[in-house]
Amino acid sequence: MNKKEIKRKTKTLMIVLTITPFIIWGIFNVDLGVMFNHKPNMFWVHTPSTLNVGEKGDLVVEVWDQFERISMKYKGSINFSIVSYNLSTFELIPDISVSYNMPNSSNFDKINVGVQEFSFSISTEGFHYILVTDTLTGRVYWSNPIVMDNFIYKLVWGDCHSHSLYSDGGGLPNEVYNYARYIARLDFASLTDHGEYLHLDNGYSALEKATNRANEPGKFVAIQGVEWTSGSAPHVSYDNWGHLTWIFSGSELAHISADIQKTPEDLWTEIDRFTSTTGSMALAFPHHTVVKQFIQEWPICFDYPNYIRLGEVFSIHGSSLVNPHSPWSVVGAVDAPSYRINGSSVNEALMMGLRLSLVANGDSHDGKLGHSLSHTRAFIGHQYPYTYLLSRVSKIYPSGVTGAFVSELTREGVFDAYYSRRVISNSDFGRPYIQFSINNVIVGQDDSTVFVSNATSNREIKVLLAQDGAPQSAMLQAASPWLGDPDWGTTVQIFKNGFLWREQFIDVPVTELTFNDNSTITGASYDGSILINGEYYVNEESETPINPASLNTNGVDYYFIRILCSRGRVTAIGPLWVESLT
């Protein structure tokens, strides 16, 4: 080869080496459909879950595209109507008997694009749904249920686990909180960035300030929060005790990080110190507990019932409610181990004797607190707000939300609901209404504990359910409109002592189910411990020796409810613990 030929070939190689990486990058990072297809696909109709009779509420209608994003392209008009059910008989109330005040119709035009907000009030007790009819397609969209009664506690919805650009998520804190309040329509939220990044970037004070700025009691509650990320964050050791998201009731943010508190003992000491010096309460969410990389080390949580009272059972990682290899696993989880690892799920932790109530959060990493889009094709990197890390790519489930029965919409009110266990967990943006009671003791009452006179006393179990009429999201499945009326086909399951006890199919929006149990109260125990080098552990991933005889509920039965909807939405509430007085 002469010099000219070598030069020509070198240039060709350089051109190939220049074009190829950009093409490969484009294939993985650019989705033209996501970029340019904003066609309206459905409406999301959102209302408060509970209102006192005659109280005014805000009705929000959002137009979504096929990726659950706000679509600005809808230019039609909408009509409103109402469907109501009796509070005690659950029968349909004729429209003429319902007294309400709301607009008849509205247009989406150049001014009202994508989102419209209306005021409404209903003066008739009952379960109500507001129906929005799209005059262009003729489709009818149902709201979440509005329970019109005279309540002590209001049901509000929030998401207390999310990440911004301050750690491995997307968006700046103020953007993320704005999205939570004005798009996801949450009542409360917490941005809980990984402490290890905050420590690296000196970000605690910036996050604390952003959260305090976003907090507006009565309208939107922003809660201080941070995640302790043992084992899998930069510049920490490989020791893995699981991830604990912390929220605090006050205006100060604790400096929690797995490189400051290197062991669980350090962590508990710091939380004790922080709560006693600031007067703030603290609660932790063990989460994605069944994911192979982050199997939760439950034994570290045994002695801290004031902090460990809640288990995150739904998030963008899937479900940690039951073991992914149990026969009742429906949802699954991201990176679930290929073989069964005992003692990883929240259900198994309950069998060990931990008293965890079921909550759901987002753990969103795409800057969309309260309504992550990473289960849709819009997980892609060119979606605003941007993310530096790959953290949104593998999150294939919708983000969950928690319903909390609060006395007032303040930090203290939300914390009281969480601490008292007055919570409902839901796997997507849905807001159903549920009451679960045993012998008239509802979830959250008396620390969710029911006392019966003896071990065979009858337990009357009631589940009151008003389903959300909105379309549903699930793993890799964006919400799409119902073809006709919503599919109300739903299975209500009751789990007792870790096992599926009863299930019943329903196909109505509002109902109450009653079951009776008079079998002997035995309690539950965890029998999955394994022996390694003369010591027992809850599973092969665990590093904390335990006494297997102590892993039980101390003779107390527990029940929780799981509700499986037709298109993948899952709701859970409970547990209620039942203790015999003799």
Binding site: M14, L17, T18, T20, P21, H235, Y388
Partner: protein
């Protein structure tokens, strides 16, 4: 005493160009240093240093990010204002080597990012085209290959 501007050859055009230079250089510098901080934190996922105090890691990351961002933003702005096309330059002086080193390091660091790894690819391509010596050409090919390999590896590990 008032400053005597008449001693200097100052014109509106020169001031405007200077202002534009400063704005462009600082925008580039700040953005690139943020990308570099994020890149360094990403690599720390793989290189664990649990016993090194965080403050030392912070100093290191900020220094690396600042130096790299400063060099590259300076270089990019210089090219915009230079009359000589750097792609046609035949010989490299020591400043060019410093610049190419910055580009090379930034390309390696940014290759681990999601979406913003396009910066890593762009810098790798610049090393390839601007490195006129054999060693820089080899390093250019290596960085381009590294960026492609990491992108494909990420696809097979976490993409769905």
């Amino acid at each position: 005493m008032a400053f005597d501007f008449s001693k200097y050859d100052i014109s509106v055009r020169k001031v405007s160009i200077g202002f534009f230079f400063v704005v462009l250089a600082s925008t580039l510098g700040i953005s690139l240093s943020m990308v570099m901080v994020a890149s360094s934190a990403t690599w720390l996922y793989f290189i664990r240093a649990p016993n090194i105090p965080v403050v030392l890691i912070q100093i290191f990351i900020v220094l690396v990010a600042s130096v790299l961002a400063l060099s590259s933003s300076w270089m990019i702005v210089e090219w915009i204002f230079k009359k000589v096309n750097p792609f046609k330059k035949e010989k490299l002086n020591y400043i060019d080597h410093i610049m190419l080193s910055a580009l090379f390091l930034m390309s390696v660091l940014a290759s681990a990012l999601y979406f913003f790894n396009i910066i890593g690819i762009a810098f790798a391509v610049l090393v390839l085209w601007l490195g006129k010596t054999k060693i820089w050409r080899i390093l250019g090919v290596l960085t381009v290959t590294l960026n492609i390999v990491i992108q494909i590896a990420l696809f097979f590990t976490v993409w769905r």
